[in-house]
Amino acid sequence: MSVPTGHAATVEYEHITKSYDAAALKKGAGAVNDLSLTVPAGKICVLVGPSGCGKTTSLKMVNRLIEPTSGRILIDGQDAAKRDPTELRRGIGYVIQQVGLFPHQTIEQNVGTVPRLLGWPAARWKARSEELLATVGLDPAKYARRFPAQLSGGERQRVGVARALAADPPIMLMDEPFGAVDPIVRERLQNEFLRLQETLAKTILFVTHDIDEAIKLGDIVAVMQAGGKVAQFAPPAEILARPASEFVARFVGTDRGLKRLSLFRVSSLDLGVPTIAHVGDDATAVRGRAAADPLASALLVDDQRRPLGWLLASELPSSGSIGPEHTVPVSPLLDRRTTLKDAMSLLLGSDVKAGVAVDRTGAVLGLVTVAQITDWVRTSDDAVPDKPFEDEDFTPVAEG
């Protein structure tokens, strides 16, 4: 029953300009000036910028809710202006901030909107609706027959995403889709959205004014400034490491160093090697080795290499054997997947100089110190984050 997924299309803006008269500009219409950029197929491209920068205007030109004054938009190389707008729109998913569910239709009917417009038989669009509700985490048995007014804001937003996916469009346009829900729900929707995109691999144009959201969701980010100019078009890590202009630097904020840390994980550090001791080791020997360690301590581990605690050289007995009773607790414990931002925060909040990174079984991988993280920040301008990013055919083409 289900439509094959995975097809994505490229979207190319070619010298797109949209001018408005003074009255429209005053009402907040965002003009666009000679915008050229290419959104690679299957990637999330975030258009971010202050209000009136033309990001929403740029988005709505893809499904021709707004027609450009000049320039072309190519979808998979085909000029959007040459296609019938209605037929074009049915092939592009569209999600807006206020969701815009039809209040008089059930959730099932709402999700089946485009399939019904395309004339699918009832059994088929209903099955598709159910499938999609499940995909976005809403139990079809519970939700299919409800009306939008009976759902919470977060649930409505999920239905909005399901509706946009209904006919399996190669492109999705999302205009501040998570802007109207509270921060906790937003965070959850963002994470679900990223997980969904991993399997769907749609080409997604995503508009937001929130730089943190842009960094978190974007494979590539276009920072736009007033008048519809692209100030920088690059992967988030690069924008944070090397803002192209004063404007971009100001827009991403003075804490861009910290924001950058949230893109990377402990696994990208060269971990420090601890001095290891085992239960039952001779105290004198361990004391000697610990004293030689830069941290003046050794890490006591069990037979699975799981950390039991720190042994401080100065507090070890001079004879006998070493046991857990000689240790101070190991905190913080870090995971390979812990972001550097969280690692930094944990380290700053603890009494110990080094955090212990462990693998999935809890075995010691190595040590993380604040100094290591700061050193890494200074030397890693070209680092690529651990997001699924490193496709070889992924070369941003920019400038406007």
Partner: protein, 222 residues
């Protein structure tokens, strides 16, 4: 009143056939103008929607029509139609226009902007959007206007008694009662009109609820 009862039940019992006949007439005098008025108002509303100046003009004209006294309107129209059903239908229809055009336009305007944008963005044609999104969502406010127009028409139709026995409706009882100083007919005409109006309103409320199950669905009512 000379010690006679206000309503002689015996007379009423003898005249059920007449009451039924005049009910049919009154129903006709109500249904035809409201339905015709709705169709005309809907077409006008769709045409003036998004044309605020034209809308103001249309409402102005409908307002003027509404202020013409009904008796004067019947006599005026009778010049052209002779004494026929149309003599009453035409003025009664024009009276509904002010209420209905306003209500229908308000209904369309109550459709949220994000819903319209979503509909357009997902590939509804203009006609599909009008019929499948705007019209159903305008129903609650439209229905409020239809109820008001119906009740108003039922009242105004009593004056149509001047059309005589063929078309007159409940108004006939009033006219005859006044002519013969017979209180039973006066009260009967008045009570029947009121009961009809209230019943019609209740029926329309019921119809509206059936037509808009979504309007009562709220977050609390899971």
């Amino acid at each position: 009143m000379n010690g006679k009862p206000l309503i002689e039940i015996g007379w009423v019992n003898d005249h059920w056939g007449l009451i039924g006949q005049r009910f049919i007439q009154h129903l006709q005098l109500t249904l035809v103008p409201v339905v015709a008025g709705f169709v005309i108002a809907l077409l006008i509303a769709i045409f003036v929607l998004g044309r605020p100046r034209l809308y103001a003009l249309v409402i102005g004209i409908a307002g003027i029509l509404y202020t013409i006294p009904s008796l004067a309107a019947y006599l005026l129209v009778a010049q052209f139609t002779k004494l026929s059903l149309l003599t009453a239908i035409i003025p009664l229809t024009t009276y509904t226009l002010l209420i209905l055009i306003r209500g229908i336009v308000a209904g369309f305007r109550s459709v949220p902007g994000d819903v319209l944008e979503a509909a357009e963005g997902m590939g509804y044609t203009a006609t599909q959007r009008l019929l499948r999104v705007e019209l159903p969502l305008a129903v609650p406010l439209m229905f409020a206007a239809v109820r008001l127009a119906t009740v108003t028409t039922i009242g105004l139709a009593t004056v149509a008694a001047i059309l005589g026995d063929t078309y007159g409706g409940f108004g006939q009882f009033l006219t005859e009662g006044l002519q013969n100083f017979f209180s039973t007919e006066i009260y009967l005409g008045a009570i029947l009109s009121v009961v009809f109006a209230v019943a019609a309103d209740l029926i329309l409320v019921r119809v509206e609820r059936l037509a808009t199950p979504w309007a009562r669905a709220r977050a609390g009512a899971r």
